[in-house]
Structure formats: C-alpha cells, structure tokens
Point group: C2
Chain length 424, copies 2
C-alpha cells in the first residue's frame, strides 16, 4: 500500500509531502513526489508527529478500571485486584487487551510493553488490531529450592518466546519479566537472568515503586531493590525498570552503569500515593527514561500523551523550574526513548526508511490555536480529541474518530460480557 500525505506540517515548522510505502516512510520533502499512490490524503496543515510508545502496561487490566478507587497499592492489590485476577480467563484477557489497544490507538500510542498473564491472548489481540508490543509473562517465585527449570510460569514464558517472538514482521517481541523484588527470591532471579542473558531476552521489572517496598527490602536483605537485582545478576541483562519512585542516588548510579532503562509512570505513582519519580536526576545520570501508563486499574487511562503532559508539568513544579522537563525533551521521552527501550530503533522518526509510525494532530481546534510554538501546543494544549489519525507500520489504525482495524462495537460487547462474568 502506497499512501501520499499532502499538506503535512512537521515539528520543524516545515510544510511537506510524506509518502509511505508498505510499512515504511518512503519520502519526506517539500516537492510533490511523482508516482502512483493507492491513497492520497490532504492533511490540511495538521501536524504529523512520531507516535507514542508505552513502556509499562498491563493492558488487560482495563477489566478492573475503577476497582478499589482510593486504596494505597498494597491494599488495592491484595483486597481488590488479586481476588479479581483469580477469575481471569484467556477470553477476558483477549477482549480486555483489544479494548485497551483501542484506547491507546485513539490517543496516538502504537506500541506497548506488557507484563501480565495469558500473554498469548495479549499477543493475539495485538496481532489482530495492528499495534506492536513487547510482551512478558510476569514471573514470581517464593521457594529458593524449587526446580526453576520446571517452573510453570517460566515454561510458559519460554513457550511464548518460541511461539511469538518476532512475529508479524517483528510487531511482537517477547521479553521476560521478574515481577518485583518482593514477589521473587534471589536464586530464581539469578536463574532467569542467566537464561535471558544467554538468549539476549530483555527483562521487565517493577522497581522501588513504593516507600514500603523499598524500605522492607533494605530491612530484609540489607540492600535496596536495585541492589537486590544487581546481586542476582539481573542488571547485567537488558532491563527496563518501571516506577523507580524511591531509588537512591546510589541506585541511580547502578542503573546508569548497567544501562538499565526506566519506565516513568507518573499518573499511577500519584494516584496510588506512591510519590514522584526523581525524573531529572535519573535522566541527568544518563539513564534512558521512557513513559508508561501502568494498567488501567491504577491510572485509570492508557494515554501516553496524557502521561507526557503530566510529566512535563509535574517536574517543573517539583523543581521550581519552568525550564525543567522541557517540551522537546518530554516529546522524546514519550516517543523515541520508548522505541529505544523496546529495541525498535527503526521506528519513531518521520524520515525515509523508518517504520511509518505517526500521529496527526489537529492544529485548527479551539484548544490548539494559535500554534506559535508547536512543541508547546503538543505538550500543554493538545489532547486526545485532537488526534486525527494514528498510523502503525504504515497502516492507518484510527482516522477521524473511526477505528480501522478494530470492530469496536464487537470489542465493547465482548469486553462488557467478560467484566460481568468476573464480577457477577
């Protein structure tokens, strides 16, 4: 499929033509390209930006959106979420992921990292709706002496890798996930880390999300959660650590030395009363920081544009510095950094040869006029209602309010059926 986009504005301010050939951008320039196109779209001066990447999610948790509102993390998990998750099925995970993908697509996100159960259902949903995902079966362990090679979840994770890794022209990547320090024993972490290093499989972690988690770890092991994972050899693998609200200066140094990436989840951390990640300190240390929504049960949205805008405001206020977390920097955090975290370096650049992931933003709406500073418009004024189009690997997934790859009424119907079954 060859598409020509006319009258496109770029963040540089340039008015250009953009063409897509298959999954990739073919041409970006001021001269109208010749040749035949399957579709020609007049963008009427709308802004084409790199698409958003969500580096920490539990997409199927849309099922639990709004459940246990107002509870802190540990009570929310133990009293509300874990009992509901006991009733989770493949079917529910599949439909809930599709609903989550619809929410992401309509707010400009084309790729997400996921850590949950029934990841094969998640993979099937991702394949169906046309987005990308780095999927990991969440691993937990409580017995130092178990036969790790026979661990059910670990076997599931390996099977998932063998079945799906690289599928659909690499839209699906399979990773592993050590859920957290407080849900794992050190020997198991070491075992999984060895396996992942040997097979070059990235690992997703929850890390120092709450003060309680951080301090209990120090009391129990004499090291922080970061120290715990370092001791287990986990940080030597390719790791993305979500949250990092309570990391110490020494932790940050360890993360930087080990090239650990961090997924910053500001809404979830605020909503659960966990606190605020020291973004600027972590970013200044050289750590690659990207954004995540966390699950819809603790956010309660899957909107990276919103996370990006929240982060840009939050860190200015925290640091009493209007120049902190600037608009250009935070756009990178929400887009290209996320692609790097997901090892998708050929994405998120609107230029020849890159995969055609992009979002078209309406600059002619009451809330985006005037657009004297395009980065500022994107960071502080635009919202989901200004997303005119979302494209992933050259395929238009959402356009003028309509889903192109999802039968949304069918998804909503089945999703609601699954919610009823879990909470009946």
């Amino acid at each position: 499929m060859k598409i020509l986009f006319e009258n496109v504005k770029l963040l540089s301010g340039e008015q250009v033509y953009v063409t897509v050939d298959g999954a990739r951008f073919d041409y970006v320039g001021v001269e109208r390209p010749s040749g035949k196109f399957d579709q020609i779209k007049n963008c009427r001066g709308a802004l084409l930006i790199p698409a958003f990447y969500n580096t920490h999610c539990h997409a199927a948790m849309t099922l639990f959106r709004g459940v246990g509102d107002g509870l802190p993390l540990s009570r929310w998990l133990n009293e509300k979420i874990f009992p509901a998750e006991d009733k989770l099925t493949w079917d529910a995970t599949y439909w809930a992921t599709l609903l989550g993908c619809a929410e992401m697509i309509s707010s400009g996100t084309v790729s997400f990292s996921d850590m949950y159960m029934f990841e094969d259902a998640v993979a099937d949903a991702v394949i169906e709706c046309g987005v990308k995902a780095n999927l990991a079966r969440g691993l937990v362990s409580f017995d130092e002496n178990a036969d790790f090679a026979q661990d059910t979840r670990f076997c599931e994770a390996k099977e998932l890798y063998n079945r799906y890794n690289g599928a659909e022209d690499d839209r699906i990547k399979i990773e592993m996930s050590l859920h957290a320090e407080y849900t794992n024993v050190e020997a198991y972490c070491a075992y999984v880390a060895d396996y992942c290093r040997a097979h070059d499989i990235p690992i997703q972690l929850h890390l120092s999300e709450t003060r309680d988690e951080h301090e209990k770890c120090i009391a129990k092991y004499g090291v922080t959660p970061t120290g715990f994972f370092e001791r287990a050899g986990v940080l030597d693998a390719a790791v993305t650590a979500a949250h990092c609200v309570w990391v110490s200066d020494e932790d940050i140094e360890l993360l930087a030395q080990n090239k650990v990436s961090v997924s910053h989840n500001p809404s979830s951390n605020l909503k659960l009363g966990s606190g605020v990640m020291p973004y600027s300190k972590i970013a200044a240390s050289g750590v690659l920081v990207a954004l995540g929504t966390d699950g819809a049960a603790s956010n309660n949205s899957l909107n990276i544009m919103k996370e990006m805008q929240l982060a840009a405001l939050l860190h200015k206020g925290m640091q009493y510095d209007a120049a902190a977390a600037g608009a250009r920097e935070m756009l990178d955090v929400a887009t290209v950094n996320g692609a790097k975290v997901q090892r998708r370096e050929d994405c998120v650049c609107i230029a020849h040869g890159y995969r055609a992931d992009a979002v078209l933003i309406d600059l002619n709406a009451p809330n985006t006029l005037p657009s004297s500073d395009l980065y500022a418009t994107l960071m502080y004024s635009a919202d989901r209602s200004n997303v005119l189009m979302t494209m992933c690997d050259g395929r238009i997934l959402f356009e003028n309010g309509e889903y192109k790859s999802i039968d949304i009424e069918r998804v909503k119907f089945n999703f609601s059926r699954c919610v009823s079954q879990i909470f009946e």
Copy 2:
C-alpha cells in the same frame, strides 16, 4: 424551550428522565414525565454531571498561547506577555475570548471568572456565546498619593459594573480585581476595598503565586501578601484569591477567618515552576477551594476537567496518600464550589428549580469502559473527547462535536487575524 432527556445516568447510579424548562431543571426522576416538549433527547445511558466552573481565567490570553514557553513567571511576564499586551485591542480581546469560550464549552465549562483588560469586549463575547462569567477589570496602582476616585482603571471598572452587572438574567456579574500585592499600593487597595464593601462587589486577587512574590513582600512590608491585603482591609470584602501556592499556616488561618475563597490553578503553577498549592491544608481549614485554569498563555489550556483530574492526582502524590483529594471531593471543587465562589448558588445541582447547567459524558467509549465507579471514571479516565453535550442555563451550547451558539469558523478566522496583527 422545554427539553426532555431520556435514559440519563446520574452519579448516584440512577437511570432517570430529566426535563428542562427555560433556564432551569424542572424534573428529575425515574418516571417518564407527561406534557409536551420542544425537544426529546435519548442520552443512551450517558452520564449527566454538573457543569464545570472556572474561577480564575484571563480568557483573551488565548492570543498568547505558547508564547515564551519555558520561562519562569517574572521573565515570561516582563519579556513576552507585557510587550504583547501593549498591542491588545478591543477587537482582539473579543475574538480571543470567544475562542477561549469555545474551548471551555467543549470541555464542559459553562462559567468563568475573568480578570483582564477590555472587559466590555469579554462581556459581549460571553453574552453572545451563552456562557456565564464574573468579570473584573484588573486594577493596578503605583502612587500612594494619586486621586484614586479619578483612577482610569477604577472608573472603567465602575462603568463596567453599571453597564453589565446582572445582565442577561445574571449570566454576567461584574466584580473588581486588585491584580496583586506587587502591582498595588496599600492605600489604593484600601480605597477599592471600601468601595467594594459598600457596594457588595466581590474582589479577585492574585495571591502568593510565587516564592519570589511572597518573600519580597515580607522583605518590603514585614508581612506576607495575605497580611498586606488584610492590613488594607481587603480581606473584609468578598474575596477570591488565586494561586496561594506559598501561603503560610498563619495566612491560611487569616483566609479562613475572613471567608476568603481560593482558586486553585495547578497546571499554571506547575508550568511556571511556581510550585504546588497546599490544597488539603487549605481545604481542611474550612476555606472554600475551587479550580481555575489561569490564562491559556500559562497553562496552556482552558479545561477545568483537566485541572480537576490533575489536582486529584497531584495531591495524592504530594501527600503519599491514595485517599487524599478523593474523586467526589474534587468533583465538588470543580463544580459546586466554583458556583459558590461566583455566588451562583442556584446552579450546579441537577434537581428541580436549579439552573440547568450540565455536561453529558460518554460512558461507552474505550477509555470509559467499564464504569464500575462513576466518580473514578470522571476523575481518572474521561477526558474532553467524552463530552457529548454542554448545557448552560437550559441552552445547549455544544453537542456531538458541534458548537450551537458559536460560529466557530468565523471565530477562528477572526482570532487568527488578530494574532497576526499583534505579532506582525
């Protein structure tokens, strides 16, 4: 005009019929009312909520959206905004206010408090587009010995009051505004306060927005800005103070004793690096707290729904308490508290006899499913894209993406013309 809304969901969870007769709600109940209606609208289970009230705004500053991005308050004002404001005209203020009203309407806001220049242009725009507003000409003074009664701005403010106060069935209320401590001398404040007390005219202030303002005032006068206004007798009038980021515990006590209302502007305070207002402390003192957007030049949005959601997240994170700034509380802050601040106690309640201000929210969108907790849906999941309808005083101003009282293309055209003239 009599309107019947069928199949409406309320925040109580009830499924009801709602009727509007003229400017007011006539009936809310589970039985279908009899009688003839000019319009019957099937709401298909969407959620009808009280409309949002914006208690601090400079609506015409949409002209300067995105200008001076990244600068702290004082540099932003002195280097960017004041020079641009020198070129402001009646015409530009009128069109820029209409654009701002369109943005507010489409995000569910029906009333705003405004402090700026050319407030007669603002009043005309408000009358035309059907929202409500409490308007105040910003007053500044630098000469203790001037003849205050002849002060140009004060005379303008009185004229505005005489011409517009109570206009359009009270949609327009005129107030006065002492811009800030750092832009006024004490004797002038005392003079204006005397006048306002005598005529029962409310006063709008900027108060302790930045640390710099707060500390310079202490250095200059030996009292905080709150103390400065108390000494001038201003706090004895009906006062709404915007920002209050740096108020001390003693200041908060003074505000409570004097029944001063506070307009909380979280986005603007974060964006300019000013800090975070101690919301829970102020609310716990008994002070009436409502929300404001500030101008689009420092926010850069005029979306109270977004401010409400930001405040709900922010204060949980600041206080490490998932139960702080709860969803029900913050909805009140964004709606009924705003109406109280504006002395519009007959608004913002969906019940017989109240003025019919309301917003219809789509509960069947990918980002609002499931709605197991309606308050949580509203506070953490819904956004402007879910606003199906905005109604003010029984008049539908926005419905299914269309403005009903604004010729939006004409407004955008004239707005853009005015922007060009100012920045040419």
